[in-house]
Symmetry: C2
């Protein structure tokens, strides 16, 4: 059998595994009465949003496809673009569909069967997402690689561009949706009306729960999908441009094995992820955080071992294996640092700042976010340095690509654990809204708490992975341009490169500002609507009348769809404009400026947001006066500011840089 | 007469003009009774802090001098370092001394003579600072250039390093002092005790007013001084390394005129600044903002005209003159954008956000800060692009240096207007503390309001200038290394350069976090002390007993001196460590990453802080419920967070990048 068929076959196996998990989840009871009704509202709201989002996305993708047809002589690049967009959209859709089935079943399991069962359902729900993301990547990219062959290798870049385009809109749209609903519901519900989170009387609560799915499941899935594919595509591209001498030192089987290595590693990672999911199942009677950690670390160790055997079998030097290890270990280091900053001593310090009011909470949180960038960025710098030291001169950037692939190969399990968070969060929301007992709430709260930490870790990991993937894509861009432009060098002392670097630094700040404002504006509309309902619907506050949740879902949907367009167009158009108007050197500088600025801002926002969130939870557990105290009011302010930081603007950064990089890579052959 | 003697002579003239202004200021009455007593406390507090700060600084500078003696074969570099440090310290000291004489005289003039007199005194107080900064630069650097000649031209870099070292400590130390006092006094005074700002019963108020002088006058003076000298030094260095062919296209009088051009331009700027100060005097009966604007714009126009004649007379091409114009106009553009974001519609939007609580104020302010980077950074990118297009190939970076010099040449007047702000602020504080009448307060409030806007503009200008100066220094670093290392190129696709870029991106975030935390911690100590005094000193709240202001000044002093060391050592040591351990390519990458990251963060923090400050003032004027409303409480939170942003961490960024760049330039010859 042709070894090139293995990635798509493993993609098929991954999809099958996801389907089996889906059947298992469906086997659990979905409850009845209020529980089922609430779950249906969340599911329907999410599906309506996805359909409307994909309609806009489809039109936009269609336009780009036409432009690509005009720009390129062959049909390969536009076809790859469509394939990437479809695979990404499919992965996001399936993942979210499954998550909105798993949430209510987790609630029911917590209510009737206990903690272990609830953990299993929630985790399976997340795992469907994780496996689908990895499977679609292998299936789509693996098939294209098999079909296009060496002749149209550059056209594969289109797949990454398709994936990134969908990811950008999903992440930004989903992020705006989820946080406008969350902030709006919290500000009126908790602060003005004085009712608890997820109270069924609050008209914004359904929208908030829908948001968890469209933002944290579908958005996150597309985000990781594009990093996953981007890192492979970039490594293949760099492999294709290595000099013959370098190839000889890295592989006894020639260039093909170096180009195939990323797909082979990801295929191995898929198997290890499935084994990791089984590990979590084995340990499901332990505490949730122990079980989940066993899964991640177990599958990473398995993967590192298997990768060594695999690379050896396809004749690739053990130096490349060390690069894989750099990436895999680096991912864990970044995750652990994130865990510290969003769960350790810094969180307590932020909460203690609350004793002197919201201003000190803000200052402490921002300082924590800023400080938290240090070790992750040192890790990224260390990976670049180490891989370049491990590989022979001239092959350094291949090592960066391989490290990115190494970090992302076990995406099946890391995404599973990440997507578990919003499922558990939703399960708690449903339990609260349906008025289930204390005991059920205690179980779902326990699951949710772990989910918050895993979500923060997942975000740190996603940023690190996206940063490395972007670096690899940028390196591939430089190589590609060099092939078309004689003597092309990105010299920092070249004023054009410098101009580009400053231009690139702007985008992350501008897109963050746009998305934060979008959340602020939409939340404001949401607040007005919730206030109106409390005023105009008689009996709502007393619980005798029902809120009009649909209106709130609609407001969030409208805002998300309207405001996601500008950042998306900006990200996609800017490399084209700069590349054609000022030239490939300025574009290269722009990517360099953007990647540094994006990674820093993304880490700062994600970790500050996570730390504020957990500082609030720390106080709500009864520390420093507990709920209702002035300290609590102060940390709630921190959490509210952290919401768009960690779930809208921060995550948008990962994709922003990858979109800019991949669009540049796609147009690179035209910039000659 | 030797034309090279002109800069030091003009420096002498500038000092003389400053001395004349000082005599004029001293001619005004310094009041008596409570007014004089309060002013004396502020003056003494500031002087004690400066002495203690300079003691630590002296020890530190001594250590560096010894290291430079060991590292370099000649005594020229360490001698230049000492000269730079002494000139910077002298400029800061004189400026602050004068400001603490002018503040009380402004109060008395407002009380007895009216608005026009008060404006004159406050502005003269600031002008002494502005002229001293420019004069010390011309005197110090001009003398060294004359004495060292072409043979030891590289040793002049030591002057910049001395200036930057002093600036870093002054800015960081002063910034921590001023904001820990401000935040501490505000949080207890305004929020807990419910007494107005600058109320004499508040034990932290004297410290707050001392802080304005050590932070906004002395710190700002050293900051601009180092950009001013840095831009000239870098341009001289670039001029020295231009190829003979490039020199021929740029100057009919040879290389010497290109190297001398920055000093000549700055000398011209000194004359124009003195004329600008006279312009403000002429218009002092107009509204303060009109008078100040006439001075800035008038002297810029004069300067652009004079620069054209000057460059023509020393045989320099008119293309270089266009570069001067790019810089001068760019500075005004950045100032105007800053004015918009810290005074226009965005400020009202932030205040309106206060209607839904402090969280929305925070989100809107952060979004404003992020958005505000766009046009200034586009301006910087535009200047780089335009100057490289104006000059022949290979001379592009010379144009960037000249643009920086062009922006900074009229520093005498821009600094005068900037330092006017804290003098007016202090004048208001003294009036309030001494219980002077409504009318006096109205005049000082009017002056203060204009001062807030000019301070914000000054900050934007300082960041733009520092960014350009840093770029020029980095370019000079690359040129210098190229002279010592064959075939040296800063190629972005070189993994070492990339490693450096990420490393460089870290520093701004780390230093911001350190300084924000320092303010937070010191403010916390301050709050505890103020609370203690309110509790333990009988009759304090009733106004029958006096607070122990000295304790508060001491707390701020201790905190500032203790916490300024780590960021300073980090900034100075990191280029040395990276340069010698990983090499000049990684160091070059680090500077590139740091400059982009510093400029972005500095603009964001300065403008967000300025916008929050003015949103608070907007509400305090009676809008949206005015003082005492919930909206007011919300915008006060924004202002408190903005304080360390705009006056501690943000300004530290300018110097951080310049210190890193100039240290790199100094050690460049040793990295071969």
């Amino acid at each position: 059998m042709d070894v090139l068929l293995l990635p798509p076959i493993l993609g098929g196996i991954g999809l099958l595994a996801a389907f089996i998990l889906y059947r298992i989840v469906k086997g659990y009871s979905s409850g009845e009465g209020a529980v089922a009704e609430i779950a249906a509202s969340i599911h329907d709201g999410a599906m309506v949003f996805m359909r409307r989002e994909y309609t806009i996305l489809g039109a936009f993708a269609g336009l780009i496809t036409i432009l690509l047809f005009i720009g390129f002589d062959t049909w390969h690049t536009p076809a790859a673009f469509v394939a990437g967009a479809v695979c990404s959209a499919f992965a996001g859709y399936i993942g979210m569909y499954a998550a909105t089935q798993a949430n209510v079943r987790t609630t029911v399991a917590a209510n009737t069967e206990g903690a272990a069962s609830a953990l299993s359902v929630a985790f399976y729900g997340g795992s469907i997402m994780g496996l689908t993301v990895a499977a679609m990547g292998l299936l789509g990219l693996g098939s294209l690689y098999y079909l296009f062959g060496a002749e149209h290798a550059e056209a594969i870049h289109g797949f990454g561009m398709g994936a990134s385009t969908v990811a950008l809109f999903s992440r930004v749209g989903g992020g705006i949706f989820t946080k406008s609903a969350d902030v709006g519901a919290d500000l009126v519900g908790k602060i003005e009306a004085g009712i608890p989170e997820d109270d069924p009387r609050n008209p914004g609560v359904i929208a908030d729960n829908v948001g968890d799915n469209v933002g944290d499941v579908a958005g996150m899935g597309s985000d990781i999908f594009e990093s996953y594919c981007g890192s492979m595509i970039a490594t293949i591209a760099i492999g294709a441009t290595l000099s013959a001498a370098t190839v000889a030192t890295l592989s006894s089987d020639g260039r093909e094995s170096l180009m195939f290595a990323p797909l082979a590693l990801a295929s191995t990672g898929m198997i290890c992820s499935i084994l990791g999911i089984l590990l979590v199942r084995m340990f499901s009677s332990k505490k949730p955080d122990v079980a989940l950690r066993m899964g991640t670390i177990g599958s990473t160790i398995l993967f590192i071992g298997a990768a060594g055997l695999l690379l050896n079998s396809i004749g690739v030097s053990s130096a490349v294996w060390l690069c894989v290890m750099c990436g895999a270990v680096g991912g864990i280091v970044i995750g652990l640092v994130t865990e510290y900053y969003t769960g350790g001593r810094p969180v307590e310090l932020i909460a203690e700042g609350g004793e002197t009011g919201p201003a000190t909470v803000m200052i402490a949180g921002l300082a924590t976010g800023m400080e938290s960038v240090v070790i992750p960025v040192l890790t990224i710098a260390g990976i670049i340095f180490a891989t370049s030291a491990l590989l022979p001169e001239g092959a350094g950037v291949y090592g960066v690509g391989i490290a990115a692939v190494g970090m992302l190969s076990t995406v099946g399990i890391t995404m599973a654990i990440d997507a578990y968070g919003p499922v558990a969060d939703n399960a708690g929301g449903i339990a609260e809204m349906a008025g289930l007992g204390e005991e059920t709430r205690a179980i779902t709260d326990g699951l949710d708490e772990v989910g918050n930490t895993t979500a923060a870790i997942g975000k740190g990991f996603a940023i690190g992975a996206a940063g490395l993937a972007a670096l690899a894509i940028i390196a591939a861009y430089i190589e590609t341009v060099s092939h078309h432009v004689e003597g092309f060098i990105l010299d920092i002392s070249d004023p054009l490169v410098l101009t580009g670097m400053f231009l690139g630094g702007i985008f992350p700040f501008l897109v963050s500002a746009m998305t934060m404002r979008a959340v602020g504006d939409a939340a404001f509309d949401m607040i007005k609507e919730i206030r109106r309902q409390f005023k105009e619907i008689p009996g709502l506050m007393e619980g005798t009348a029902k809120p009009d949740s649909g209106r709130c879902v609609d407001i969030a949907t409208q805002a998300a769809l309207r405001k996601m367009v500008a950042p998306g167009v900006l990200a996609i158009a800017s490399p084209v404009v700069v590349g054609f108007l000022i030239g490939p050197a300025a574009l290269g500088g722009m990517l360099a400026g953007a990647v540094v600025s994006c990674v820093l801002l993304a880490l700062m926002m994600a970790n500050a947001g996570g730390a504020w969130d957990n500082a609030k939870k720390y106080v709500e557990k009864g520390n420093l006066g507990g709920k209702g105290s002035d300290t609590h009011a102060a940390v709630v302010v921190g959490d509210t500011v952290g919401d768009p930081f960690k779930d809208t603007s921060g995550p948008a950064m990962n994709i922003l840089i990858n979109v800019m990089a991949i669009v540049s890579l796609v147009i690179a052959p035209l910039l000659g």
